[in-house]
Symmetry: D2
Subunit: 337 residues, 4 copies
């Protein structure tokens, strides 16, 4: 873990979807998240082993990402982060407590790579629905039934610059990365927790090659069998399976990638992964000699940029949605929401 990071974990994601009913059917009935609240047309959901009030917010609108929300390491860290970001030329919006259910004061900003972030400190704890004291939701009522939101995988034009922003401003540490012998960093798996990654940032492959894209959000399950179960659920519900099942080399995650039929956002349903407990962890470098093993250790072949279903990514800030479109006036637009 990064003992000096301004943020302590990935908390939640707010997604915009053109068909919120279809997205709800997907996330609630097939993935198995619980709906825990609604306001202003937004629906809040959580997985069963999460501490916080919610990990996913759905909003109706053109496919996009309103924000990836990180929890600050303390109230003081939150304040210091705003100062630091502004000192580095990032426009920061302040969002009052209550702007989202359960959430205290927060800040929002768009990274140089075009990704919209939110950072908060205070968050209501989730309702105690389980009879098990250290678990808030009931497990396995419906769907694949993940434990908690785990990580996001985002794309941009220059991953090295994106990695530097995440490291220098937010305290994320590089755990594994892909860099060919004579080339630039292609992708990086980073964390502020002991998880092998809270965020992966990779090159948006040609022909897209754009900033501000989301590759997938990921929920972790208790067991690999839950992911296999997800495969049968998704197939029979005619949900698009992009790649599955298999075990990544990088991150050692057992994966199933599907697309939310309502929004087109890709979601990874996974189990396993690794943890890093050594402060002097040496990031694992993958290159052209072993990238195939890194991408998939056991399972279907997959190389990014090969034109398959894993390639296209969704924009965070859709062009077609003036309200959601960053440009010169990103901060202003953001504030106007």
């Amino acid at each position: 873990m990064n003992r000096t990071a301004p943020v302590c974990k990935l908390g939640h994601v707010q997604l915009a979807t053109p068909d919120i009913d279809a997205s709800l059917r997907f996330f609630r009935d097939l993935v198995g998240l619980d709906v825990v609240g609604e306001d202003d047309g937004r629906v809040y959901l959580r997985a069963w082993n999460e501490v916080d009030h919610h990990s996913l917010v759905l909003r109706e609108g053109p496919t996009g990402v309103d924000h990836f929300a990180l929890r600050a390491s303390s109230a003081a860290h939150l304040d210091a982060l705003a100062v630091d970001l502004r000192a580095h030329g990032i426009a920061v919006d302040e969002v009052a407590a209550g702007a989202e259910l359960g959430q205290g004061d927060a800040i929002r900003f768009v990274s140089p790579q075009g990704h919209p972030w939110e950072v908060y400190w205070e968050m209501a704890k989730g309702r105690q629905d389980s009879h098990l004291l250290n678990q808030r939701g009931k497990a396995y009522l419906r769907g694949s039934s993940p434990m908690h939101l785990d990580h996001i995988n985002i794309a941009c034009v220059d991953p090295a610059a994106g990695e530097a922003f995440l490291a220098d401003r937010l305290g994320f540490l590089r755990r594994e990365y892909v860099q060919p012998t004579d080339g630039p960093v292609f992708a990086s798996w980073m964390s502020v927790t002991s998880q092998i990654h809270d965020i992966a940032i990779a090159m948006d492959p040609p022909p897209s090659l754009r900033d501000g894209r989301l590759h997938h959000i990921s929920y972790i399950h208790q067991d690999r069998s839950d992911v296999l179960r997800a495969g049968e659920i998704m197939r029979d519900a005619e949900v698009q399976i992009d790649l599955a099942p298999g075990k990544h080399g990088i991150s050692q995650a057992f994966f199933l990638y599907v697309k939310d039929p309502g929004s087109g956002h890709r979601v990874e349903l996974f189990a396993g992964g690794m943890h890093v407990f050594d402060p002097d962890w040496e990031p694992v470098r993958w290159d052209e000699t072993n990238i195939e093993t890194g991408m998939v250790w056991v399972g279907p072949d997959f190389l990014p940029g090969s034109g398959g279903p894993m390639d296209p990514t969704t924009p965070c800030l859709p062009e077609a949605d003036p309200a959601g479109r960053p440009a010169a006036g990103v901060a202003a637009t953001e504030a106007g929401r």
Copy 2:
């Protein structure tokens, strides 16, 4: 398999429950069966990988079993069975097609051990809900989500006599049995299929020691992880878990025993088991030297008759006389339902 048996498989079970709503919540929402029909206050359910229209019928009434239904090996076998039973002094009722949803002509009778049986040949196939052609229901929508009804475990005063009835009249073959060195048969696992058992019949342990009892009905799951999942579901729903999880030695089944909160009937949610493909299979005899291993190979200690939660069994015919044997008019009562 028994190549000359009058019956080919266990088809379904009709249970009476004093609280049909509670039983429905259990079987539909927690076990995950699909409701496929209703008539005359009865609710029909099935598991996702069953061929037939239903495997469970719930009827409101004092806790009991209306019948265990076996499928005949052919229409001719059904006719011959009725003749054979009557020739052996068993009262046989004839039930017209349509008395149960999807079912053709059937016969009903009570065995000398006080268990109510139904045998049918024609049965409607289940509705094709899955996009997978050889699977009728959708898997894993809710609950532990078993594949199909697997077996029943019934109790009586004299298991050897009960075994003889099942063998001589219905064609069941002994696969495994418990018999102490100098004692009578205590329990027997029998089948007409390749399954290690379609029916187990055992001594109803003291102080009950009555005929006509049900120990449990059992649904089989695709994977042992489904049974573990069931444990968490049942625990958080405050369903009584009698014993679990573990792997039996006898039958090699991975088990979880719970009680339907509506009726008190015990249900085994299991995975695994064995199959017998050799016509000269020598029944495995368990005795006092290895019965503990036979009862549980890995898991919680359990010996029948030890007074734990696994002991009490539900009566099949609640109106039966105090000795546990159905009165003379049982068949008539049955027919009059």
Copy 3:
């Protein structure tokens, strides 16, 4: 099950391998079979939940299959089968008891599709190594550790003719099959047991298009997790994985296909599958509208004949003529081994 079939199950397979040490390392150390005997340079192996002495025999020689061995339904069935085969023009060799460890008198013949068969009745039971009375070997000592040999998948030029031979001479029943709307049968899954298949027979895809080929032999595991475990074992041992993991639609088997590095024979390590208990089971027909679902329900894309790693098959009789059909003297050759 087929109540009148001359044979009752698939018993074992004898494979020829050019590198018996490499094949032993694969089957013993990575798959986890136990070596239970040796004679004349042959090595006998078994899986932990098999009744018989062995399920696999390895012999050093050019890659091939010496025989697929079926157990007769009785001694009388064995005798009658020899008469029937000869009456239909099949050359039958008689093999004396003791020609293979533990085996009684047997017959051998080559089918019109060029596959070498053996049928026996008497077979020694396996040594009791487990402390669990109904299980002969110890489970999970090494490797993926399957329960038992499950089925074989063989290829030929005319699957309809091959299916007819298996049905008419040996009693196998069609359970599922692939037949395009206006085309011939492409593949058939058949069984004499309740298993959805003991044998699959399919067209050897172009450009091979030869008779007498083996697509794979298959061992079944207790749990899908064992198959996932196999994937990691095989990958790190540099064993070629042809396709995995995934769940077939047809047969509903959870699969991993690998190649024995010693012989090139393909082996399926699988879990799950289905059972057929109804005597009037209507074979499931798959055609061009659903064959993709039939091939793989969840997992990597695969269509036979598409030129991928799943296509090539090994010859059973390497000395066969260029057309792939064994010459007239094949039976003699077989007898002379």
Copy 4:
């Protein structure tokens, strides 16, 4: 995680065993650890997903624990820890680099609760045996095959005092604890990592009620199915299973407890568990109203101190073994109990 802790993780454990061959058979052949080195009669082992050279050292001698080894957070932290311990009256021995294979300079001390600790900073990385770059050992070659050493569970007379030592001197944070309404702390689950516990410390139950005891060491597996697999392996090897399988409420770990036949030390083979990423995590308090749920959420009943097989614990520092006793200052401390 504790951002200011002197130590960063549990690194390894050195156990004394009266029958090192039996212990090796257990840890190597049945658990599946790899032997990675030997010196001075000690054998070093590791699990497949560990970074460090070893996680277990076996030494022949009366049953005991030579040390629980923690990795310091840095070289400077190691030095500061020695100073701090001495300032608080703890005798600290300095151990030169090379005293154990792969290890740099280290310190050793006995806690006021009688547990022997070692803290080191430098440790050789494990040999790269796997073809997967971020995994050093090959997975699943033998036995249940855990990923890594996970935690220890130790016992003493006064858990509150033991908890205070671990918190104040070593930086462990309380994550969950048991404290009856009007009673003292009975047990505490603590960590310096994000794991729900790296160390649990509990009351040594009557009639033992002694300091300096080990309840169990624990290895974590990739999947719950690995733990089920362990159950069958251990049962057939006649290894004593103390409790299993089941899921704890506290820690949410899926467990199997067995005894090393060579030493009598208890080992937990488990999967699952929880992680804590919030710096303001409020420790979960369990009391007399929910302790049964806390002990076992799904599985066999278990309450500590109830006299079952889970009660007895092994001593860390056997009085009868001079070779296993720490150096002069430690022995004095020990003697002073």
